[in-house]
Symmetry: C2
Subunit: 350 residues, 2 copies
DNA sequence: AACGTTACCGACAACGATTGCGTAAATATT
DNA sequence: AATATTTACGCAATCGTTGTCGGTAACGTT
């Protein structure tokens, strides 16, 4: 009967015990009443519900997590939040997670392998129910993930994956996107087409180069490896590589960049050098910039469905998390890209 | 001695109990050994540490959370992740949280009051240790936050705050930024300057309008309320409002937009109408777009230190979280903005 | 009247970790 | 030698919740 006024450090929330005490019931009964168990008197239920309402009772998810050995949270590891592609993907992830009752815990690898490993360790010890990850540009081996995966942690890759782990993957059709993009440049009359690639260790890089090569081959244009430049993600490195490309004996007529940041760096340097786009040099990108059409000149892009990729990946992950049956029917979802042609590749010989 | 092979649903992780069993010790001893308690035999410690290492023991943060009534996670509520300002801010938040041992749980309000309320409820029941929030454009009252706050939940506002809650706030110097921006337009020879504002309920909106008015007043330009337009955040609404502004009897010579999305929408519409920038109309924004300089024309902006705002806010929040003393010396941190002048406001009469 | 059914509810253990308290043995003190 | 102290560890409670088991009524059945 005595109302205990315990002062906790943080916010005090009513527990099932408080309700039990107030109503002179056992915690078991209260628990069952709250979950609507059939073996509780409807009248008792009513009273319990009423009291719970009055005390503003909220079940403690931490206690539940401990009991059920699940956290109802998923971890997301991306190279950089502040990158339109990833922030759009996270938007999609959050949407799905949200209405399936999960929370999203964010980690950034900053394109660093070491950070990625630490992130994974955190996620593991955090007991998230599953992991969505897009690999860092530095990542060449995935033992850290493999260990987690064999231990039973559901993992789904999106965009940047590794073949060494057999699980769901959600990717854009990088090959086709690069093929169409390159073909568009070719159809615009360009023969010397450079390809500014990201880290050579990434799956997306390889796929896009394949598409690029295939388009060249289809149109009988010889492949020139001097026209393909890789770079990691530091600003200086990007600018150096681009400078290097533009200082070659044979200047390309077109540059196909495969990331937003590369595209921006490239545009900046070209402008600085007073190279006219698209007259002197056509430019296009694998881009998720919403402002692409407002750039100067408006930017031709192969657009990836970032939001949808996030959604699909989250759905697949949560299916894995909630699936009791160990059905390893792992699939690779390939989403179509879209080529949007704008001014940066407009052919002069119109 | 018997090695129990319990098969849990998810990943099996060694617990303190497993170590105790393997070493024929009590869990208390193991626990103390792991924390390096002075009252444990150094030799015993060694053995325990060794065994923990071998079993790849990781303390269960959920169990700790339950015991200590804290989660070592902070909740972040933003209107939209996929918005450069907020993704940059989250970047800063994640950086600080990361190296202070906290995790970041993300929520989006999508500029909806209802979503924001639900988010707050989730955060509360999730038992995060603190909340960082930037209010939604629809939010006019903050009872949901006030309740949480009076219950003891540390809350720190960044960018969009409410005066009704007495706590730390981290904001950009919106007044000064708007003042300088407006003055720049005036100095460029413009007299009819429109101000495209966000939701009138937001603190940032009021502050910026104040700065705008003050600049007008300083230069003896009468305030014309037809030149100030508010809009919420739906694309249609934005375009309607802009269309409306551009269809007035007196066309402004310059538009000062106060968000990235508004600036983009505005730029788009002006281009569609073949209104030349800056000849027919100067344009500038309160922007965090990294590509602002690459837009067509390059975009004059008042830049907010988004990353730093996130960092400062996270620091203040974690200080609150970890502070034992209830010292309500709440402060409002105002970070300076920076006016970057580019082509979109270049004066023709140079 | 004796038994079996239901309906309803409580005690207890468990999830993983920490901690106050107790206590045995080993050592030190007188 | 008797006592006091230290060393090193175990027991049990705790955090909030749920599952298992069990129990007690009230009722119906023979």
């Amino acid at each position: 009967m005595k109302n205990c006024t315990k002062t906790r450090l943080a916010l005090e929330t009513a527990t099932i015990k408080d309700i039990a005490k107030a109503l002179n019931l056992s915690t078991s009964t209260v628990s069952r009443a709250l979950r609507g168990s059939y073996e509780i008197n409807p009248e008792t239920k009513r009273i319990v519900l009423e009291c719970a309402e009055k005390l503003n009772y909220r079940p403690n998810p931490i206690a539940l997590s401990l009991k059920e050995n699940r956290s109802r949270a998923i971890g997301v590891v991306v190279p950089e939040i502040d990158n339109p592609f990833f922030s759009q993907a996270i938007n999609g992830i959050e949407a799905i997670a949200y209405n399936r009752g999960y929370h999203v815990v964010i980690f950034q690898s900053h394109e660093s392998y070491d950070r990625e490993v630490v992130n994974i360790q955190h996620l593991a010890s955090r007991r998230v129910d599953g992991v969505l990850i897009s690999l860092s540009g530095q990542t060449t081996h995935v033992e850290h993930l493999k260990e987690l995966h064999t231990k039973g942690m559901p993992i789904v890759f999106f965009d940047r994956f590794s073949d060494e782990i057999n699980t769901h993957k959600v990717v854009a059709d990088n090959y086709q996107g690069a093929f169409e993009g390159t073909e568009h440049l070719i159809n615009s009359g360009k023969k010397h087409i450079a390809h500014l690639a990201a880290s050579p260790t990434l799956s997306i890089t390889r796929e896009r180069i394949s598409g690029y090569k295939a388009a060249l081959e289809k149109h009988g244009i010889p492949y020139n490896e001097d026209f393909v430049k890789y770079c990691n993600f530091s600003i200086e490195d990007m600018e150096n590589v681009i400078d290097e490309l533009l200082s070659q004996p044979i200047l390309p007529e077109a540059i196909f960049t495969v990331s937003d940041r590369l595209a921006m760096a490239c545009l900046k340097i070209l402008k600085k050098r007073n190279i006219r786009i698209p007259e002197d040099m056509a430019l296009m990108g694998f881009s998720n910039l919403k402002v692409a059409e407002l750039l100067s000149p408006s930017f031709t892009s192969v657009i990836q469905p970032a939001l949808e990729m996030g959604q699909r990946a989250a759905e697949l992950l949560l299916d894995l998390v909630e699936k009791k049956s160990k059905s390893p029917a792992y699939q690779t979802v390939t989403l179509p890209t879209e080529l949007v042609i704008r001014d940066s590749t407009k052919t002069a010989s119109k």
